[in-house]
């Protein structure tokens, strides 16, 4: 081999050993075809941003150690949100907190997440990097690695930009059985903070309401908050729920039905930020039905209510926690609200999406 030829071949080898660099500006079908473009996307974007030892081998599965004897919780969450980026978060951070919170609500500490990305052809690489970086940051805050993943690219028009499905596994704390069947008359109902911010932030960010307000999504991982409550109250915590789609009203209806009990709420005690209350008022939407992504509802035994409230308020994510109602025997399966005005009404399940009223 000539000296010149050897030099060229060595240069090629050096280039092949260098970490992959993603130079494309938009995602193309090639990035999903499994070849070198796919490898470049995974290495230079996903693995680089989500950077953690479980993911690094880029193997078919991540292998992780579970605490001896622990019960394992598993869940999955599909994130589809328009717009993909909104005040207070984006689809990436939402994918992480949604799954971490689903685990936390059964008393499980998240051990690892896995994520599948369905990307529409033509999606900007920079935007994808921003979203994956945000996902990585949310995972670091929640203290959980994204340990495995998958990427598919679909033709233009076959997806709305980007969908993310995020699965998680967690270890359930010893001695904790969170089950609405354990709810008893006399139990108290708490929320960890102000309601309706995520749903209203999304509605305003869609920009078709001609309404401006400083409303930021509350999307956050609640693992730490749940730890505090369970540390403080243990089995006196009957059950936890995150009031996402359908809001507080929907979650409480589910609990009332599952427990065969009634939940009586005090409207004046339910925390809602004035901006959210104002925007809801203008649109004729009830904040009790608006989605939250960083709040939890706790039903606790009456003797534990002070400890639960103090534990929630000790965490920055629970600073505006409040006791909002109590469980009663009658009428079973229904949620009733004492209005701030002095009347009462039924809070029922909503039909379909909340639609703004005409006048």
């Amino acid at each position: 081999m000539e000296e010149r030829e050897r030099e060229v071949l060595e240069r090629i080898e050096r280039a092949r050993r260098r970490p992959a660099r993603l130079r494309d500006e938009v995602i193309t079908l090639a990035h999903g075809a499994g070849g070198s473009a796919s490898r470049t996307l995974v290495e230079a974007l996903f693995a680089a941003e989500l950077d953690n030892p479980l993911l690094a081998p880029l193997a078919d599965s991540a292998v992780l150690a579970a605490p001896a004897g622990a019960r394992i919780a598993t869940t999955i969450d599909a994130s589809v949100v328009t717009p993909l980026e909104f005040p207070g978060g984006d689809i990436g951070s939402l994918a992480v907190s949604g799954t971490v919170n689903d685990l936390a609500m059964v008393g499980a500490r998240a051990l690892a997440l896995t994520a599948a990305f369905v990307i529409e052809e033509g999606f900007a690489v920079e935007r994808l990097r921003r979203i994956v970086a945000s996902m990585a940051a949310a995972a670091r805050v929640a203290g959980v690695p994204v340990a495995a993943g998958d990427t598919k690219v679909v033709e233009r028009g076959k997806a709305d930009g980007l969908f993310i499905a995020t699965a998680g596994v967690g270890a359930v704390r010893d001695g904790i059985e969170l089950d609405p069947a354990g709810i008893r008359p006399g139990d108290r109902v708490l929320v960890s903070g102000t309601l309706g911010e995520h749903g209203m932030a999304i509605m305003l960010a869609r920009g078709d309401l001609a309404l401006e307000a400083e409303i930021v999504s509350d999307a956050a991982s609640l693992g730490g908050v749940v730890d505090r409550v369970l540390d403080a109250c243990g089995p006196a915590v009957r059950c936890l729920r995150d009031p996402t789609r359908g809001g507080l009203a929907t979650v409480l209806n589910e609990l009332a039905r599952a427990a065969g009990a009634s939940i009586a709420l005090d409207e004046a005690a339910i925390p809602v930020r004035p901006e959210v209350a104002g925007a809801c008022e203008l649109l004729g939407i009830d904040p009790l039905y608006v989605a939250n992504e960083g709040k939890l509802v706790a039903v606790v035994a009456p003797e534990a209510v002070d400890a639960a409230l103090a534990a929630l308020r000790a965490d920055p994510l629970g600073a505006r926690a409040a006791v909002i109602g109590e469980v009663r025997a009658e009428p079973p399966g229904m949620v009733l609200l004492e209005t701030a005005f002095g009347g009462s009404r039924v809070v029922d399940l909503l039909v379909g999406n909340p639609l703004p009223r005409i006048c």
Binding site: D208, L209, A210, P274, A277, G278, E281, G284, D286, P331, M334, L336, L337, E338, T339, A340, F341, G342, G343, S344, R345, V346, D348, V351, G352, L355, P356, R357, I358, C359
Partner: protein, 373 residues
């Protein structure tokens, strides 16, 4: 919320409720109709009926603009929406209203381009941005929403936007009140008059309610304390033996109304000879159509419509509910065959509808205010 909390003060509410109970004590049952769906919503949302004495009864009237649209018109709307090249824009409430052939939501699921807008101006913007589409706005509502449709038509003409039209179903409140007062099973003692409508049409036009029919009417605001105070004013008139048109909503409503809004309506729309109301039947001069000068923006002329009349379902008693002849729960199908998930009658569709409001908020044994000692 500033400017709102003042009208939701529970201590004030108790004081007004006590005064109301004292006035009503020992009197015959009084049935007061709130004409406007917005008031119905306020009444249920804040649980106002809990604050009323036993013998003061609220009757929920026809003022839910969604509830009064007959099924045939919904079918016509769906037929327009399903035409190729049409983008059909509507207020959200209309999506779930059943016609004879399903709902706009179902048409949307089948592929029709149906979009929710919050103002007719949004529909005009869509027309401006997509000149290749025929953009139709589903104009519904009382005199409250008619001015915004009128202003949008004026702007469409000024800008020369040709791919925009209005399927006009605007209705008028006073012919409906008159129809209720003339119906044989009517049993209303007084009215809480509409608030937003009155900002447009003023209060003088209600004179016939007192003069011809001898009933008091009080125009009311939409906060719970507004409604409670208006109710007190109606009951006080009944106690005093007076029948007058009074205005509780003075912070917004003027006797003469809003002349500019009325002028915009007059320029773009004319009264139809007759119009069908769901549950109430045909009422003369009770609705608005586009005026001849705006014929080119009239969806009824632009698209061939069957204009079929669809009978209300036999089991449905929306008409009697709308006239105040029965309470929602007295309807044969209420809560069984007719629910918010599967509404038979339109009163069950909108949250302003008497039946949906009662179903969603009112389904509990009412705890009445105690009689004064």
């Amino acid at each position: 919320m500033r400017f709102v909390d003042e009208y939701r003060d529970p201590a004030l509410a108790r004081r007004v409720a006590e005064e109301l109970a004292a006035l009503a004590a020992g009197r015959e049952r009084m049935r007061v109709m709130e004409v406007c769906g917005g008031h119905t919503h306020t009444i249920y949302r804040h649980g106002i009926e809990d604050l009323l004495p036993e013998n003061v009864e609220l009757v929920h009237g026809p003022g839910c603009p969604v509830c009064v649209i007959p099924m045939g018109r919904v079918d016509d709307a769906i037929a327009i929406a399903e035409r190729p090249g049409v983008t059909f824009t509507t207020f959200g409430d209309m999506l779930r209203v059943p016609g004879g052939r399903g709902t706009l939501l179902e048409a949307q699921a089948r592929g029709a381009d149906v979009r929710v807008v919050y103002s007719p101006l949004d529909a005009l913007r869509i027309a401006r941005e997509t000149p290749e589409r025929e953009v139709v706005f589903f104009g519904i509502g009382f005199e409250t929403t008619a001015p915004s449709t009128a202003l949008t038509l004026l702007r469409a003409r000024a800008e020369g936007i040709e791919n925009f039209s209005v399927f006009c179903n605007h209705v008028l409140v006073n012919p409906a009140i008159r129809a209720i007062l003339e119906s044989p099973d009517e049993r209303i003692d007084g009215f809480i008059g509409p608030g937003h409508v009155s900002t447009v049409i003023g209060t003088r036009c209600y004179a016939f309610v007192a003069a011809e029919f001898g009933r008091p009417l009080v125009v009311s605001g939409f906060e719970p304390l507004d409604v409670l105070e208006s109710l007190l004013m109606v009951v006080r008139q009944l106690a005093d033996g007076r029948t007058e048109i009074e205005n509780q909503y003075t912070r917004v409503v003027r006797p003469e109304g809003n002349e500019r809004a009325l002028a915009a309506i007059a320029e773009t729309m004319t009264e139809r000879e007759t119009f069908e109301w769901r549950g109430l039947g045909w009422i003369e001069r009770s609705a608005l159509g586009l005026s001849p000068a705006f014929a080119r923006f009239d969806a009824e002329l632009r698209f061939p419509l069957r204009g079929d009349r669809v009978e209300d379902p036999k089991a449905c008693q929306c008409g009697e509910v709308l006239r105040g002849a029965i309470k929602p729960w007295e309807c044969k199908v209420f809560g069984t065959a007719c629910t918010p998930e599967r509404p038979i009658g339109t009163c069950m569709v909108s949250s302003e509808g008497a039946c949906a409001a009662y179903y969603n908020y009112g389904r509990v044994a009412r705890r009445r205010a105690p009689a004064p000692a």
